[in-house]
């Protein structure tokens, strides 16, 4: 498959009074044409920072890209000027944000906000841009598009606003759409509609999606591949089936174990003990070790490299080293793994990926 974006060893730091916060500490991944890559992790794991860095939308200062490269269409985005970035933003790489209630300008009509993106990047007349904007509104499922063009954001519901935000992002047929928790602020039924819409549009337009979320349910629904981030690093990456059915990293186990399900037997939902490390002073060795019940002595000394599990599956845990003791995932994850396999078997299908 064709690689559309390559991120190599990306380091991003924020310089604050107290020192340097190393928000992203060496992230590497590829994005393929037409796929959806989900980046999951808890708050502060660096997933949002990574996604904003791809668009160079982080304020500098305090942020800075310390090292690494972001290769897109033969260019390293980290080295482009602001002017060059402006011709990429919204045209080739678009982004939608978490809260549709605040991500639209309250004093500008919806139509103008969509047309602004079109007029910036395409040589179209105002009339043509208006036509295109109406088409986009229809594409994202907004009825009475012509009338809606003249309205302001406060005349739209949350779900409708997120559709408008998506329409803006799609204005110039981008190659990559970065969605930073696009459904987190929406209620569950609207969430499902927006996810359906995104899948539908991806099928029609064939773009790649980077989907930032902490909701594993959404990941299972949307993603082809999943990258799990912890403390500014990707700790495990693989196809959605590999991550859900054959997770290797204890942190992924913890995430899966803490995912609620309908036939949940225990009264209390599992949660990973402790809290993420302070990235002002990242710990030596594996950042997850203090919260990891399977931590080995070496975890406190040396950071684990990425071990290859399959062609598409990698995980950064010393447990995969040939000298490591054999460890079974916790019962709740094993049970979940069996249940997933069972569901797949009943459907008579093969796991995706």
């Amino acid at each position: 498959m064709e690689k559309i974006l390559q991120v190599n060893d990306l380091h991003i730091s924020f310089d604050i009074h107290a020192g340097e916060v190393q928000a992203v500490r060496g992230v590497t991944f590829d994005l393929y044409k037409g796929e959806t890559l989900a980046i999951v992790g808890e708050s502060g794991s660096g997933k949002s920072v990574t996604s904003k860095a791809l668009m160079r939308l982080l304020p500098t200062p305090p942020s800075r890209i310390k090292q690494g490269e972001i290769l897109f269409e033969g260019k390293d985005l980290t080295k482009l000027s602001e002017k060059e970035m402006q011709s990429i933003r919204g045209a080739k790489i678009s982004m939608i944000f978490q809260d549709p209630m605040t991500s639209l300008n309250p004093t500008m009509t919806i139509g103008k906000q969509i047309m602004e993106a079109i007029l910036k990047h395409q040589k179209l007349s105002k009339d043509e841009a208006r036509k295109r904007a109406i088409e986009l509104l229809q594409l994202v499922g907004i009825k009475n598009a012509e009338l809606r063009m003249k309205q302001y954001p406060h005349q739209f519901s949350g779900g409708m606003r997120q559709r408008v935000v998506i329409a803006i992002a799609l204005a110039c047929n981008p190659k990559i759409l970065i969605a930073d928790e696009p459904t987190t602020a929406l209620d569950v039924t609207i969430q499902a509609q927006i996810l359906e819409l995104m899948k539908d549009i991806q099928k029609k337009l064939g773009m790649s999606i980077i989907f930032i979320t902490h909701d594993l349910g959404v990941v299972a629904n949307m993603a082809d591949r999943v990258a799990v981030m912890y403390a500014g690093k990707i700790v495990e990456i693989g196809t959605v089936d590999e991550i859900f059915y054959n997770p290797k990293h204890p942190y992924t186990w913890g995430l899966l174990a803490s995912m609620p399900s309908l036939d949940h037997k225990d009264t209390e939902l599992y949660s990973i003990p402790g809290s993420p490390p302070d990235l002002l002073n990242p710990p030596k060795g594996d950042a997850f070790a203090p919260r990891n019940p399977y931590a080995l002595k070496i975890d406190y000394e040396l950071e684990p490299p990425m071990f290859q599990v399959s062609d598409t599956h990698y995980a950064a845990t010393w447990l995969l080293h040939e000298m490591a003791p054999k460890v079974e995932p916790p019962a709740v994850v094993r049970e979940r793994m069996e249940r997933f396999a069972d569901i797949v078997a009943r459907k008579g299908g093969k796991p995706r990926g």
Partner: protein
Amino acid sequence: MARYTLQRFVYMIITLFIIATLTFFLMKLLPGSPLQNQEKLTPEQKALILKEYGLDKPVPVQYIQYLGNLLKGDLGVSFQYDNRPVTELISDRIGPSAQLGFQAIVFGTIVGLILGIVAAIRHNHWEDYTATVIAVLGASIPSFVLGGFLQYFIAVKLQWLPVAFWEGFKYTILPTLALSVGVIASIARFMRTEMLEVLSSDYILTARAKGISQAGVIIKHAIRNSLIPVITILGPMTVNLMTGTLVIEKLFAVPGLGEQFVRSIELNDYPVIMGTTLFYSALLILAVFIVDVLYGVVDPRIRLAGGKK
């Protein structure tokens, strides 16, 4: 909108009535009488004059009489200025005051907005610090102190502009500057705060993610949204400006309404005090009304909420 305007109009009348009542009784509490400096008059002559103007009657009766005349649009005649009607005195003197006030608010608003915007864009750089210092100075130095400074340095020492009087545009510059500093200070401070908040909001990020340039983002998205709260302070600021003109006109010997007002208080010229107070109040209420309308123009959320009625 028509209903809203009518409603506002009724409120305006009620407000004016309350102001008229309060001012009338407060004014009567002032010590002295319009004839206190007229030593040459005999007590009989004084009594005759008081009777002529109806000042011998009890205060409540005078009040009812005043209201009756007010309803007919009659503000009475001045005791000091050759029995001229108060309406005529006001219309004669309003020109310079209106010009000063207008120049000060336009100049002050424009400069204040620019300072605020620049400070926000260059947050924590020297431009920001400079604007903040100007705003703090402007807010803490009273306009009459600054007026004195301007007179001394620019008019007396440098001789660039005339010290006082009212004989052309050159004469308006110093009093306008003195008056507008307060406006500059509060607008700049407000605009900076609002602009900083707007610049960190999500829709600015959306605009940048569209590929809009920094300048485009500020002009098309940030300024308008920052203006909304700034407009609200234009109302109270007009009040400040009006009270400011009272002193500034005196200082620069501008033949304006304020200068006449101050004199009329010193001399217990009741009809002029009443007339000018009511006139200022009406202007102020009008200013607040205009601010309300402006608010709706800038913010569509308010416009539409009002339009549904």
